[in-house]
Structures are given as C-alpha cells and as structure tokens.
C-alpha cells in the first residue's frame, strides 16, 4: 500500500471508528431528517396524488439539510488538541486527508439515506413507477456531489467567524445544479412518464461530480495551508 492511500485509509478508519463509538453525526442527522420529514408533511397534503411530483425534491432537500449537520462536524473534531495544525506541518499530502474525510462523510450520508428512505416510502406512500434501478446511480452520484463540495466548504468555513452558518451559505448556491439534477432525475423515475428519461440528469450529475472533485483536489492543499 503506497503512502497516500495508507494515510487515507488510516484517517478513514479512525473517523468511522470514532463515529461507530460516539454515533454523534449519525444520530443528529437522523433526528434532523426525521424532523424535516414531519415538518414538510404539514406544509401540504402528503396523501394527495400530486405529492408524488414533489417527493423527489422533498427527499433530497431533507438529505441535503441533514448532510450539512454531519459536514459541520467533519473538521470540528480535528480542531481539538490542534490535530489539524499537526497535520498541516506533517509531510502527509493534503489530498489524502481530503479524500478520507469525503469518503467518511459519504459513508455517513449513505447510511442516513438507507435508513430514511423506508420512512419516506411509508410516510408519503411512494411507489416507483419508472425504472427503479436508475435510482441507485442517482443516489450515489448525488450523495457524492453533496459530500465532496460539503467537505471542501466545511474546511473553508472552519476559518470563518460563525462557521456553522457559513457552510450552508457557501454550499447551497454552488450545489444548485446538482440538486436540480438529483430532484429531476428522482421525480422522473418516481413518476415513470415513458416520454421523459432521467438519463440527461444522470449524465449532468456525473459531469458535476467530475468537475468539482477535480476542483476540490486541485484547491484543497491551498485552502488547508492558507495562512
């Protein structure tokens, strides 16, 4: 195992182990997503047939809000005992740390999605009328889009005053095309109208992922060492 992947693996397993023992992020995310689901149900009639049209948006907005809760905690953990400063002066490549953090967040948000989706199906009586398998690439690409940018912007907002509020302010405008793609793809698949296809949105989402993963990897070192 080469050194950068070794560092990534070590950081990733450390984060997952910490999360497994404390369950801080996952518990707060789950409860937050649950609250969003319940609050949304008061703003319209969840039993109505039209609700199917907005269900895709609902699911992803709930996941996005919940993901912000976890993303905010990503780097805060490393501030205690100056772990991040230690990392900064060590010769370890910055991108290994970034990839580890992004993968860790990806795992946490995926677990949240796996746990919340059945609840959504029960509460909003969702049925997939289109090709259900397409939901898998949408979920993977969409989660990665939120997580890769979120991890980057969380590192950025770490250096600001009132950092908890900075993350959504930076993340939401940039994520709009990804969010639109996820929502449209999910709605298309749920509604199952044979005249439309989710393919365009999946391709756009993949493009977004490639562009911003490259951007994050290119700029993370600069942001981490910004002084």
């Amino acid at each position: 195992m080469s050194a950068p992947t070794g560092i990534t693996w070590a950081t990733l397993t450390k984060d997952v182990r910490l999360e497994w023992r404390s369950k801080d992020a996952i518990n707060s995310m789950l409860f937050f997503a649950l609250l969003v689901v319940v609050v949304f149900s008061f703003s319209f009639d969840p039993e109505a047939e039209e609700s199917r049209q907005i269900a895709g948006g609902l699911v992803w907005v709930a996941f996005l809000f919940a993901a912000v809760v976890a993303l905010n905690q990503t780097w805060a953990r490393e501030l205690r005992n100056q772990v991040l400063d230690a990392y900064r002066v060590s010769p370890a490549p910055a991108n290994s740390l970034f990839v580890a953090k992004a993968l860790g967040n990806f795992i946490f948000v995926s677990v949240l999605e796996a746990l919340m989706t059945p609840l959504f199906i029960v509460f909003y009586k969702l049925r997939v009328l289109g090709p259900a398998w397409q939901l898998i690439p949408v979920a993977i690409l969409g989660t990665w889009a939120i997580v890769v940018n979120g991890t980057f912007f969380a590192a950025m907002s770490l250096r600001t005053r009132s950092r908890e509020i900075m993350l959504p302010l930076l993340l939401f405008p940039i994520t709009i095309p990804a969010l639109l793609s996820m929502v449209e793809a999910t709605t298309t698949i749920l509604v199952g109208d044979p005249s439309t296809s989710a393919k365009f949105w999946i391709v756009l989402l993949a493009t977004y992922d490639v562009v911003f993963t490259t951007g994050c990897l290119a700029l993370f070192g600069t942001v981490l060492h910004a002084e």
């Binding site: 600001t160 940039i174 095309p177 756009l204 910004a226």
Partner: protein, 288 residues
C-alpha cells in the same frame, strides 16, 4: 493619476446623460411593447457589465492562486493560451454543432478577450493587487447584477403579465447573484489573513458552476426572449446604436466605481499595515 479621476468622472456623467437622452428620446418606440421596452437600454448593458465584472473576478482569482507557485503559474499560462486557441478554432471546426444564431466570430471574440484580459491583468497587477481587483469587481458586479434582477421584473410585469418566471436566463442570473453574494459574505466573515485564498478558491468554484447552472436550467425550462444581439433575434439598427452607447456609458460608470472602490481598498490596507507596524515598533501605543 489624481487628475484623471475627476476627468473620467465628468466624462462618465456626460456620457450617461447623453445615453439617457438617446434611450428616452431618440430611440424609436417599440411596436408592440411601447415605451416599456426602453428599460432594455438599462437592463442589457447592466447585464453585460455585470458578467464582464464577474469574468474579471474569475481571472483575477485564478491569478491570485497560481502566482503563489512559480510552477503552476507557468502551467496556467500555457493552459490559458491553449484554451484561447481551442476556442478560436472549435467554432469553425464544429460549425454544425453551434446553437442556431450563434456566430463563430462571436465565440472567437470571447476567446481572444479571455486570453487578452488574463495577460493584461497579469501584467498590470501584483499578487496583492489581483486580490483587491477580485474584491472590487465582485462588489460592483453584484450591484450591476442587482440592477438586472430589478429592471427585469419591472419590464416583465407589463409585457409578460408576471413579475418573475423560473426561466433559464432569469434563474441562472439569480444563481450567479447568489454565488457572488456568498462570495462577499465569505470575505466579510473570514479572518483577514486567509480571506484572499479562501475567496479566490470560492470564485473559481463559482465560475466552474456557471456553465453547469446554465445547462441544467436550460434543460429545465425556457421563456426569456432570445438574445437580440449576437443571437437569433433581430433588432432595429437605431436601437442597436442606442444600446451600444448605453453600454459604453455603463462600462465607464462601472470602471469609475471600481476604480474608486479599488483606491479605497488600497488606502484601507495601507492604513492597516501602518497601524500594525506602529503597534510593533511602539508596544504602548497598541494599548491606548
């Protein structure tokens, strides 16, 4: 330099008044929309100016990031030149793929402007100054973008019968505005030493986002009138003349505002530096 500023100010005032006269009196009245259409002479130049300013912000941010490292600087130069050449060749090579109404020459102009502006900024501004330039253009760009977003609904209400619609141009301009407002918020909230780097990184992300925003919303829905200049629509040559006069006036105005904001920022930083230096030299003065 000190004298040039008031001269430019007077020139801008004269030009703006002339453009106003042209737009309100000289320009012919539009057949179907009537006088409401005259807001077009403010809406479109503001939009072009805002986009130009955001474009300069993007270039200045790239410069700020790459100049910190000699190697990336050299690579960036070649990437910019390669991109410029590609943009000049591609529209002629893939003429059939261009959307209807977009001329290859207008794409080439954009490519040349991109490369030209990049190296112009590189020549004229030092590393610290590129950051000041980025800040200035973002602030003034947000103001012009706000003008676009306000004049648009004013026109849309009588013509379309609605204030706002989630059309591609409206939505992507709004998203652009949101991105740059978040840029300004970041600048406001980050601690001073790291602000330039973080802001530059965000500016690059925002610029990467723009084409994706445009394509996603373009696929989503479209209602805005097709562009009448450089696009498929047609425009009365007299109207085009007035539009261009207005654009020149707006560009002068934007340049004037940017310049004074730039000078203000430079003075502010000089004062901060001097105060920091004084505090170091004379420890007691810091306690006052």
């Amino acid at each position: 330099m000190k004298k040039a500023f008031p001269i430019l100010g007077l020139l801008t005032a004269a030009l703006l008044s002339y453009a106003l006269y042209q737009a309100l009196v000289v320009a012919p009245t539009e057949q179907t929309m009537g006088d409401v259409q005259r807001i077009f002479y403010y809406h479109v130049p503001s939009a072009w100016t805002a986009f130009l300013l955001f474009f300069i912000n993007f270039l200045a941010s790239i410069q700020y990031l790459v100049r910190r490292d000699q190697k990336t600087d050299t690579i960036a130069n070649w990437v910019v030149i390669a991109l410029g050449v590609l943009v000049c060749i591609a529209p002629y090579a893939f003429r059939t793929l261009l959307p209807a109404g977009v001329y290859p020459s207008s794409v080439v102009t954009t490519g040349i402007a991109f490369v030209g502006l990049y190296f112009l900024i590189k020549r004229l501004f030092s590393e610290q100054q590129t950051d000041m330039l980025a800040l200035t253009t973002a602030e003034v760009g947000v103001v012009f973008c706000t003008v676009v977003l306000v004049t648009g609904p004013l026109w849309a209400r009588p013509v379309w019968g609605i204030w706002w619609t989630w059309d591609v141009r409206l939505t992507s301009t709004l998203v652009l505005w949101l991105i740059y407002v978040s840029y300004l918020v970041l600048r406001r909230f980050s601690s001073s030493g790291q602000t330039p780097v973080l802001a530059a990184a965000l500016a690059v992300f925002g610029a990467l986002d723009v084409p994706l925003v445009y394509f996603s919303i373009w696929f989503f829905r479209t209602q805005h009138p097709q562009p009448v200049v450089g696009g498929g629509g047609s425009i009365d040559p007299r109207m085009l003349r007035v539009l261009l006069i207005n654009w020149v006036a707006f560009l002068c105005f934007a340049f004037l505002v940017c310049w004074s904001r730039y000078r203000l920022e430079r003075t502010k930083r000089e004062v901060e530096e001097t105060q920091a230096l004084e505090a170091l030299l004379e420890p007691r003065s810091a306690l006052r």
